[in-house]
Symmetry: C2
Subunit: 274 residues, 2 copies
C-alpha cells in the first residue's frame, strides 16, 4: 500500500521514505539522497514529485490532476527547501505553486491543479467518453528483457525501478536504432505500488528515447496530466520523440496501469546538450 | 511584418493593436476587447499571448520557447493588469512568470522560458536531428471549405482568423463524426503574418475537436512549445484528442508553417462541462 509505514513509523518503501517532508507548511524541507540522480543532477521528475507532495499538504483536494515544472538549474543531493503558495481554491479545483530551493537558489518552479478525481469521474459518469489509443502491446514482464542496473554512468534513479522490454534498447547495445520511441514495463523495485503522487517521477524515470538518435539532453519544462488512480501492478509505458530540431526536442510519455487504463500523459521540452 | 505600425504609430494589425501593453514593467495594463472571446469568456490562448508579451518586455532574450499557463477563473473583456517576475536569467535561457488580473483577482498564471532560438539553432547545427511526423496533407487553401464566421454562438475570436479545411467539420453540420481530430489551414484574417508571440493564441484558437464527440469543455492548463520562427503564409494545423475520460480530456495541437517546419506543439488539459 503506497505510503504504508512499518511498526517504527518509518515508511517501508524508499520512495515514501525519501520524499518525506519536514515542516507544517507553507514551507518544508526534504533530504535528497544520491539515490535519485539522473544524467544531470537529481532527476527532474523526482524533484517534481517532492513539489507535488508539498502542494498536497497545503491544498484542500487530494489529487494532483496536472503539474507543470520549469527546471531552472541542476539539483544536487542534500537539504532542499520547499516553499508553497495556494493560488486559488475553487469548488472543485485548487491551484498551487511550489518551488524547490538549494542553498538559497531556486532549482524548480512547479504549478499544479488538484481536485478529487473520483468525484470528477462521478460527475462525468453520463458524459461523453472517447479512447483513441491503446496501451502498449508487450510480452508478459517475465518473458521480457530486464534492463540492467547502472546502464547509464552516474544514474542511480534507475536502480530504484525495474524496467522490462521486449528487447534490449539499441543505445544500450551500442547500436542506436535511429528511432526515438520505446515501450516497456516499469515498477518500483521494492514492491511499492504506483499512485498519483509517484507519477511525476515515473514519467521522467526512464532513459530518454533520444539516446536512439545519439542525443543527450536536459529537461527545461515538464507537464504531467494525471488521468486516473493507477491500479496495483506493472505499468505499461510508451515514450516517443518526434522532433529533434534546432537544439530542442520534446518527449511524450504515457503510463497505462495493469487494468489497461491511461493514468498519466506527460510532455517535456528538453535542450540538446552540445 | 508582425508588429508593423502605420504612420500614426498605431499597429496596423488587430492582434498587435489589441495586445498592446501600457506601462514600463514589471507591471502592465491591457485593454481586452470583446473580439477575442471563446466559449467561456476571453480565449485562454489570447490571455496567454498577453502574458507572453509582458514577459518579453522584462526578460533579456527575445524568443519564448515554452510557456505554460493555468486558467484560474474565466476572463472577461475590460482592463486587465499584468504582473511579471524574472525568475532566473542564465547564459542562454531566462525564466519568468506573469499573472493576468481582473478586478483584483488572478485569472491566469503563466510561466515561461525565453531564449534566442536562432543562436540555439546555430549551437545545434552539427548535432542530431530527427523528424518523425509530417505536416498535415491538405488541399490548397483556395480549394478548401472556408469556416463561416460566428459558427459557435458568442465566440468572436474566430472572426479574427481564417480557417480552411478539406471539408466542413461534422459538428458544424450537426453530425459530429465521433473522431476528435482535425487538420486545417489557419491565418489571421487581416493579413498579419504569424510570429512566435502569436503562437500561444493560435494553438488555442480553433474549435475544440471534442465537439466531434459531443463534448464541451474549459481549459485548465495549456503548455506551448515554440520550436521555430514561423515563415509567412498559411499555417497547417493538426488538433487531436485521444482520451476523454473521467471528466477530463487532453488536446494536442501542432502548427506547421508554409515552409513545412513544425513551429508549435501544444497540449492542454480541459475539464468536460457537465
Amino acid at each position: 500500500m503506497p505510503g504504508a509505514s512499518g511498526a517504527s513509523g518509518v515508511p517501508q518503501f524508499e520512495f515514501d521514505a525519501e520524499t518525506r517532508l519536514a515542516g507544517d507548511g507553507p514551507a518544508f524541507t526534504a533530504q535528497i539522497t544520491d539515490r535519485w540522480s539522473g544524467m544531470v543532477g537529481v532527476n527532474g521528475g523526482f524533484m517534481l514529485a517532492l513539489c507535488t507532495r508539498a502542494l498536497g499538504q497545503v491544498l484542500p483536494f487530494p489529487d494532483p490532476v496536472v503539474v507543470s515544472a520549469f527546471f531552472l538549474r541542476p539539483g544536487l543531493p542534500g537539504t532542499a527547501h520547499l516553499s508553497t503558495e495556494v493560488i486559488r481554491t475553487g469548488k472543485t479545483t485548487a491551484f498551487g505553486q511550489a518551488s524547490l530551493w538549494r542553498d538559497g537558489k531556486e532549482v524548480v518552479r512547479a504549478t499544479a491543479a488538484f481536485t478529487d478525481l473520483s468525484k470528477a469521474a462521478a460527475r462525468a459518469e453520463r458524459g461523453p467518453t472517447f479512447t483513441g489509443a491503446a496501451a502498449p502491446s508487450l510480452p508478459p514482464p517475465d518473458e521480457c528483457f530486464a534492463m540492467p542496473s547502472a546502464a547509464l554512468a552516474g544514474v542511480t534513479l534507475t536502480d530504484r525501478l525495474d524496467y522490462r522490454a521486449g528487447a534490449a534498447p539499441g543505445w544500450l547495445t551500442g547500436q542506436p536504432s535511429g528511432d526515438p520511441t520505446a515501450e516497456f514495463w516499469m515498477r518500483f523495485s521494492d514492491g511499492r505500488e504506483p499512485d498519483l503522487m509517484s507519477l511525476p517521477l515515473l514519467v521522467d524515470a526512464a532513459a530518454p528515447v533520444v539516446l536512439e538518435v545519439g542525443a543527450l539532453s536536459t529537461t527545461v519544462q515538464l507537464t504531467v496530466h494525471m488521468r486516473a488512480h493507477p491500479a496495483p501492478g506493472w505499468l505499461a509505458c510508451r515514450a516517443l520523440t518526434r522532433h529533434v530540431a534546432a537544439g530542442y526536442h520534446e518527449e511524450d510519455f504515457e503510463i497505462w496501469d495493469s487494468a489497461g487504463v491511461l493514468v498519466a500523459q506527460s510532455r517535456q521540452l528538453a535542450l540538446v546538450l552540445g
